[in-house]
Amino acid sequence: MDDHENVSGKDKEMEEFMQLERQKAEVTALLHEFNEICWEKCIGKPSSKLDQATQVCLSNCVDRFIDTSVLIAKRFVEVINGRQ
């Protein structure tokens, strides 16, 4: 059928679009999680701006959370493989 290539072209485009949007949504969900966790760690009483110390805390928090995540993933593999 004449249309065959055209149809799969459209579908492939949609598929790639959906995959990209899915990835973007995953990142956004991750940011919500970081923001929630680090807000709890770093924000005391809300004031007229985020002072320097709070900004540093939030920034460090995100990086340390990622480091923790990486470390746990690595160690978990070791534990699963039988090593302590």
Binding site: G9, F17, T28, L30, L31, H32, N35, I43, P46, L50
Partner: protein, 92 residues
């Protein structure tokens, strides 16, 4: 290489999907903001929200968005750092 325009049939659907995702994100933001700012600002729930509570909530909302922006930026920087570090490691 120039990007080609999406197929006409897909434009509408793509737009709808983007809108729905943006809406879901906004709802999540509002939900979290409400929870966090209630916790920070309302200590003994009274008959109304008094002026200081309203002020606190307003500031809290702004700080929450500031926090979101900073967290986004930090994450973006981290991805770049890891990307370039990975590339450098492979080049050795």
């Amino acid at each position: 290489m120039a990007a080609t325009a999406p197929a006409a049939e897909n434009v509408e659907l793509m737009s709808q999907v983007k809108q729905q995702i943006a809406l879901a994100n906004a709802q999540e933001m509002l939900s979290k903001m409400t929870e966090k700012c209630f916790k920070k600002c309302i200590h003994k729930p009274g008959k109304t929200l008094d002026a200081s509570e309203q002020r606190c909530i307003s500031q809290c909302m702004d700080r929450f968005m500031d926090s979101w922006n900073l967290v986004s930026r930090t994450y973006g920087n981290r991805l770049q750092r890891d990307h370039y570090k990975g590339a450098a490691d492979m080049a050795d």
